[in-house]
């Protein structure tokens, strides 16, 4: 082993292949940031809308939810929210769960978030498209 490799503690094979890290962690990291940026206006719009509808009855609330702009923003919110949640919960599980349940927990979070976003979007579409 030449002195340079001794110094950076990498094997000649690792240096030749040029990997070292998994080279894909930055994808999740970046997706977490992009979804966070999307959620800033979407969640503020949602909070403001809920406040504005504080005194609304069912009919008023549904008539607000039925407008195309509300439906579009609500669907975008659901997608960004559950994407961001899945990424965040996965990081928490990977950091704190050290047993074999880690893999199962990550899969459960991913499948659960996918199912919930689908159910949420279908609910919004039912409200918007119903006569």
């Amino acid at each position: 082993m030449d002195p340079q490799n001794m110094q950076n503690m990498r094997s000649p094979l690792a240096r030749a292949i040029g990997l070292g890290s998994a080279k894909e962690g930055v994808g999740c990291w970046w997706a977490q940031r992009v979804s966070a940026v999307a959620l800033v206006p979407l969640t503020l719009w949602f909070a403001a809308s809920i406040i504005a509808n504080s005194g609304s009855d069912y009919a008023t609330f549904i008539s607000w939810l039925r407008t195309p702009l509300t439906a579009v923003l609500m669907i975008l919110l659901l997608i960004a929210l559950f994407y961001h949640s899945a990424l965040g919960l996965q990081v928490v599980i990977e950091d704190y769960v050290h047993s074999a349940t880690k893999f199962a927990a990550v899969i459960a979070v991913r499948l659960g978030c996918s199912a919930l976003v689908t159910v949420g979007v279908v609910a919004v579409l039912r409200i918007t498209l119903s006569g």
Binding site: Y58, G88, L89, Y96, G120, A123
Partner: protein
């Protein structure tokens, strides 16, 4: 003497209890805790939307649960968790642009997150009450 490192298990995260709590570490772990809480709130959001889609008969009990005292206390906590995670998240996004890493800046932004979260939560609930909630 045998190797002492093999007799004692290595510490695994979360091992935050070995440190004295500071604003920096408390806000860091709160960002995670609020994130988990808000994921649970996202499930409630879906339940609420499904109830609304099914009609007034299904929507009424869900709305009654949210309007109850326990529901309101939970919603107040969720509001604070939301603003804490939002402000903390914006602080993280600022850090991602390689700004504000000086110790003084970190404490200023940390206390700003706490203050903004408290103010925004109170403003949101006053606004909601004024709208008849």
């Amino acid at each position: 003497m045998s190797n002492p490192t093999t007799t004692r298990p290595r510490p695994l995260s979360p091992n935050i209890q070995i440190y004295r709590p500071q604003l920096t570490s408390v806000l860091s772990i709160l960002n995670r805790i609020t994130g988990i809480l808000l994921s649970a709130c996202a499930v409630v959001l879906v339940v609420w939307l499904v109830a609304a889609a099914r009609g007034p008969q299904t929507y009424a009990p869900v709305q009654a649960a949210i309007s109850s005292w326990i529901g309101r206390i939970a919603l107040f906590g969720a509001t604070f968790a939301f603003f804490l995670h939002l402000c903390g998240g914006i602080r993280h996004l600022a850090w991602d642009t390689v700004h504000g890493f000086e110790l003084r800046s970190i404490y200023i932004s940390g206390w700003a997150v706490v203050a903004a979260s408290v103010v925004l939560t109170v403003v949101a609930w006053i606004a909601s009450a004024s709208m008849g909630g």
